[in-house]
């Protein structure tokens, strides 16, 4: 057994930390969050220059073919710095969906553009009846004159407003079970009949409502066999989920660090507040949630990289733990900081907002525990 990072992973972590230290101070996080798009094109360009967008794309498609654990190391740092970018949706989720479902010509045409950061992809899954299982896919795609026509709405789709292409999960038929009849379509962002609206709220990465009004997709825009896309979609979502968990673990770790630091520097009644038992409990809770999220995430990535049959179980467990734990770590840290913690300029709320958003993204704890129950055959 060896639970340490490899030498190259240590270097990845160090270089990522140095980069974000320089590029993303907390004031910049707030600036980006408050901007109309929540997107910093220059930061994105530099992330792609570092090769991060190519990491889990095979070399034959201009990627670097590294492991998901390698990417997880980067994501832990991204979470530590509350970095917002389209990376997860474009370079992980969409790229993996194309790898799993696309034919060779589609992979050759699309994956290099993702790897090199030339195009941003968004992944349109969730709908007004919000959920992450196959039964939540209701958007119909009907065949007409050799094309497929999409009509309906997708909601809470990250980065659709800055995407070049959108992968749309839609239903082409009803089957004997919900996972039958699901198909995957590639839609140009500027397709006729497609419109996006930025949704408003206390939300981490910006999300959009996408309206499809007779959007036509040619046959060349179909990825994989019609009506049989669910396994590929699920595998892509699993990989993105595992990586997302390390981001959430990184965020939880950072808020624990903030809690510990504040408990040692904030003086009340002549002593550091960290000497108060209640504060100690909150700091301990924050660390326990962070560590729980970290270790379940890395274990899930290890299972994934090594092709373990029970990788989906590990991934769901990691997401269930992180979904609850990241939020709880933030809540505990807010208790320690009291009023200063809700000052937006202080920086803690960057993490709180992301915790509450990513709690839901790719499935919340309830969803993943139900999945675990099926996988464990309870």
């Amino acid at each position: 057994m060896d639970l340490s990072l490899t030498e190259s992973q240590v270097m990845l972590k160090t270089s990522a930390t140095d980069f974000l230290n320089a590029e993303l101070p907390k004031e910049r996080v707030l600036e980006i969050d408050d901007s109309p798009t929540g997107f910093d094109p220059e930061l994105w360009r530099r992330i792609c220059e570092l090769g991060w967008a190519s990491m889990v794309i095979p070399e034959e498609y201009d990627g670097t073919g590294l492991s998901f654990t390698d990417l997880g190391v980067i994501y832990e740092v991204l979470g530590n710095y509350a970095c917002s970018s389209p990376h997860l949706d474009s370079a992980v989720l969409s790229a993996q969906a194309i790898l799993e479902a696309g034919d060779d010509s589609q992979k050759k045409a699309l994956l290099p553009t993702i790897a090199e950061g030339q195009q941003i992809f968004s992944f349109a899954f969730t709908e007004p009846e919000y959920g992450w299982g196959p039964n939540s896919i209701q958007l119909p795609a009907t065949r007409r004159n050799g094309n497929y026509v999409l009509n309906g709405t997708k909601l809470f789709i990250p980065w659709a407003h800055v995407a070049d292409q959108i992968l749309v999960v839609a239903r082409t038929s009803e089957g004997s079970s919900p996972d039958q009849g699901i198909s995957l379509f590639l839609v140009d962002k500027n397709a006729k009949g497609l419109s996006t609206r930025l949704q408003s709220g206390w939300i981490g990465d910006k999300v959009c409502e996408i309206t499809f009004d007779n959007v036509e997709v040619p046959a060349s825009g179909v990825l994989g066999p019609i009506g049989e896309a669910w396994p590929a979609v699920e595998r892509a979502m699993d990989r993105a989920t595992a990586v997302l968990c390390t981001y959430m673990a990184g965020g939880a770790t950072r808020v624990y660090e903030m809690a510990r630091e504040y408990s040692q520097t904030r003086i009340a009644f002549g002593v550091p507040i960290g000497t108060f038992q209640w504060v100690q409990t909150d700091v301990i809770d924050a660390l326990t949630e962070a560590d729980s999220a970290t270790w379940t995430a890395y274990e899930a990535l290890w299972r994934l990289d090594n092709g373990h049959a029970d990788a989906p179980l590990g991934i769901s467990m990691a997401k269930a733990v992180a979904s609850v734990g990241f939020s709880k770590a933030c809540d505990a840290t807010h208790n320690v900081h009291a009023g200063i913690g809700v000052d937006l300029d202080f920086g803690l709320t960057h993490y709180t907002k992301r915790a509450r958003t990513f709690q839901q993204y790719l499935g919340d704890a309830i969803f993943h525990k139900q999945r675990m129950a099926r996988l464990i055959r309870l």
Binding site: Q199, W278, H334, G339, V342, D343, L344
Partner: protein
């Protein structure tokens, strides 16, 4: 025992009077306008005008004495007012934080101060922002940001502190200042009602999770005349901490709007053909939230009944406050469990359920959890009232209180 409010015939008539008056004086567009911090200036001014009308009737300080602008009504009458305003989304009209100030003025104000301030405050003619402090918190003098020293008959204020208040600017700042760092903490404070326009005062509203509620006020050699000092030097902390009897005796409203919004959403929203409220997992969580809300209200009701009937409260306030804070945070988690991403949509999004009120709950559950200290402030007060901070050899007083067994 009887857990039900029984309104007398006179109080039922009072409710009809209130309803008729509100129907005549409150237009539909003024109702359910959301949080006061989200109002634009014009809407805010209309609301302030409405508050002044409430004040003219004595309804802003319903249980206060008539001579000082109050309504001289009973706590049950006050509850009727809160319920009727609450049903129109305007409970906040009654909650401007000035009850403690009115009590302090009645208790320790000079005749001139009572004459100058009490009526105008009770009638909503002025806006008061007060120093932000957690109820029940001990005084940590070293962390008090405002200092006052005498200069002849005047005091000079220097320093900065966080103030709580709504609107676009105060008329007065109710502040606490440290007057003598060498004396024991609680004897080293004085409280002042400072006109906000005095030279040397600057105000910056914090960029907060609940915008418009927290403000950093800086005092730079502010000359404060004697009429602004409430009580004597050394009484400041006690005057600001005291919870007036009419606030203690305020029964909580029967409705929990946030829980109601969540239940409505759960019963009207389906996934896979099943309403959320029928999902067995969510159902358990929803019932837990129902219990927590009911318990919070029940303990607040207990406290109000005790105060209204001359029973001594000891640990009871801290207990209810702690329970309420924990329930709010648990509710915010449940809201996200039930509603998913919809929980995070604010009132500007056309798809936001309940006009975005539950998104506000997400932020408010954090911001009100920890205004100046975390929930441990209430927990420590709770433990202290149970005598758990006593040293070896000291005897704890009985915790007191009311239980159905006694």
């Amino acid at each position: 025992m009887d857990f039900e409010h029984h309104y007398t015939k006179e109080q039922r008539q009072f409710r009809q009077e209130v309803i008729a008056w509100l129907d005549a004086n409150l237009s539909p567009e003024m109702q359910h306008t959301g949080e006061p911090r989200d109002l634009d200036r014009a809407t805010w001014e209309r609301h302030m005008s409405f508050r002044r009308k409430l004040g003219e009737k004595g309804w802003l300080a319903p249980t206060g004495p008539l001579e000082w602008g109050g309504g001289d009504l009973s706590p049950d009458h006050a509850l009727v007012l809160r319920e009727e305003l609450g049903s129109r989304g305007l409970q906040w009209s009654l909650e401007d934080g000035s009850a403690s100030l009115r009590a302090a003025l009645q208790q320790r104000g000079t005749p001139e101060q009572k004459s100058e301030y009490l009526s105008t405050i009770s009638r909503g003619q002025v806006t008061i922002w007060r120093l932000s402090r957690e109820p029940g918190a001990e005084l940590d003098a070293a962390n008090l940001g405002v200092r006052a020293h005498r200069d002849g008959d005047d005091h000079i204020l220097n320093g900065a502190e966080l103030f709580a208040g709504q609107g676009f600017g105060p008329d007065y700042l109710w502040t606490l200042a440290l007057t003598g760092p060498d004396a024991p903490s609680h004897q080293a404070t004085a409280t002042f009602l400072v006109p906000a326009g005095l030279k040397g005062i600057s105000i910056q509203t914090s960029n907060s999770l609940l915008p418009g509620e927290a403000h950093r006020v800086t005092f730079d050699n502010v000359v404060v005349p004697p009429r602004c000092l409430l009580g004597e030097e050394g009484e400041g902390w006690l005057l600001m901490q005291d919870t007036p009897a009419d606030v203690e005796a305020m029964y909580p409203p029967a409705q929990d709007q946030e829980l109601g919004d969540l239940f409505q959403y759960a019963s009207e929203t389906a996934r896979d053909g099943v309403t959320l409220s029928e999902d067995p997992v969510l159902q358990q969580l929803l019932v837990d939230a129902y219990i927590a809300s009911h318990l919070t209200r029940l303990l607040r009701t207990r406290n109000a009944w005790m105060a209204a009937n001359g029973r001594q409260l000891t640990y009871h306030r801290a207990q209810a406050a702690l329970l309420e804070k924990r329930a709010a945070l648990r509710l915010s988690r449940l809201v996200r469990d039930v509603m998913g991403m919809y929980a995070l949509l604010d009132h500007q999004d056309p798809r936001a359920p309940a006009q975005g009120r539950l998104e506000v709950q997400q932020r408010r559950s954090l911001a009100r959890q920890n205004p100046t200290g975390g929930p441990e402030v209430q927990a420590r007060e709770f433990a202290k009232r149970l005598g758990m901070d006593l040293r070896k050899g000291e005897r704890a007083p009985p915790p007191g209180g009311v239980s159905p067994a006694r």
